[in-house]
Symmetry: C2
Subunit: 213 residues, 2 copies
């Protein structure tokens, strides 16, 4: 990451920049541009996180998420990836100290509005932190999902589990494998996974940050 813009010094500056971006057209998505828009917006806002960091804006402890939405309705068209999960450590994982909680504790949501002709433009950014109620639901999803993985039932965890947050494959190719322990302690090879937020949840909080769907 080589930023063309200096890191924002405070939330106000970050929000200001994000709002200045509003209306900017961005390259159309397609098979060969996945993730591109997210990276463009990161650079334009001065993100410096890089692979090792927890947050995109480490000084501000703020995570940036672009989310593709329908230009008319504002409804998200996709779920939102949060972070990868170390399946092998599931039995020791706790919400309070988790990476996913840290990332979600403060998020700058940047909608990418997609119109009928597939054109994409930056929408109105919004800074969000989960309400107590929202965090309780996310924590519940976390426990339910990693609890099952911790019990050795990783194959029993489908993307159906979790009210707002789900676990799904996260790998460049279907053939990538990671190792986890089964119920009897045996080696189980499986595909790497990550946490995703359902579109119904991001849609709700984009409309109303305190929503309790």
């Amino acid at each position: 990451m080589s930023p063309v813009v200096l890191p924002p010094r405070h939330e106000g500056e970050l929000l200001e920049r994000a709002r200045a971006l509003r209306g900017t057209e961005v390259p159309a998505a397609g098979l060969h541009t996945k993730g591109k828009v997210g990276e463009l917006v990161e650079r334009a806002l001065g993100a410096t996180g890089g692979s090792a960091a927890v947050w995109d804006f480490p000084e501000l402890q703020i995570e940036l998420k672009t989310v593709p939405v329908d230009a008319r309705s504002g409804a998200p068209r996709e779920s939102t990836f949060v972070c990868a999960v170390s399946l092998a450590d599931a039995d020791r994982a706790e919400w309070a100290t988790s990476w996913v909680r840290a990332k979600l504790s403060r998020v700058l949501w940047v909608p990418i509005e997609i119109d009928e002709v597939r054109r994409r433009a930056v929408g109105e950014a919004r800074l969000w932190s989960p309400t107590r109620e929202q965090e309780a639901v996310l924590a519940g999803d976390f426990e339910e999902i990693l609890g099952r993985v911790g019990m050795g039932d990783v194959e029993g965890v489908t993307a159906r589990l979790g009210r707002w947050m789900q676990l799904r494959p996260k790998a460049a190719h279907g053939r990538v494998r990671t190792v986890v322990r089964g119920a009897e302690g045996e080696r189980v090879e499986t595909v790497p996974r990550g946490f995703y937020l359902r579109a119904s949840f991001t849609g709700a909080i984009l409309r109303d940050p305190a929503a309790v769907p």
Copy 2:
């Protein structure tokens, strides 16, 4: 209706008969058998309601509803018709005195279980009355829907309105028409409609009679 079975004398007898029917195979549904199973079950249980009555078992004030469900999951495959609605009287209609409330105040639900091969068999019957909370939601749906019709906006009432109960066309042919008054008091010709319960609701109360989805 010429019953081959005498009317049940009390709830216990009705439930007994319904349970005795469990497992009975019934003719497969198809384009040309709509409603047939409902009538077969009515006769088998000794229903005497007929067109004029509010209830299928007038002495017991009980309504009979067959509901097609997936044999595996128990989930309803269709919404459930409750009764037709007089659109012209919408502005005077009240939940407390409505036909739909009377019908729903006590219902014998008879699931018709459909398996992979489309075979249909009678499932376990269950006698239900709405809890206070459930009735409040149904009353809310009623007011919301008929309120709009009463205000002359019948064309603005889509099947999307109503959390558990919705208004939908109810006519043998799409060309049948009924008359209602528009917002300016003008004649509006529209298709006759009836109240239906969403499959999500009947599914919930079949699993748990006191469910609050």
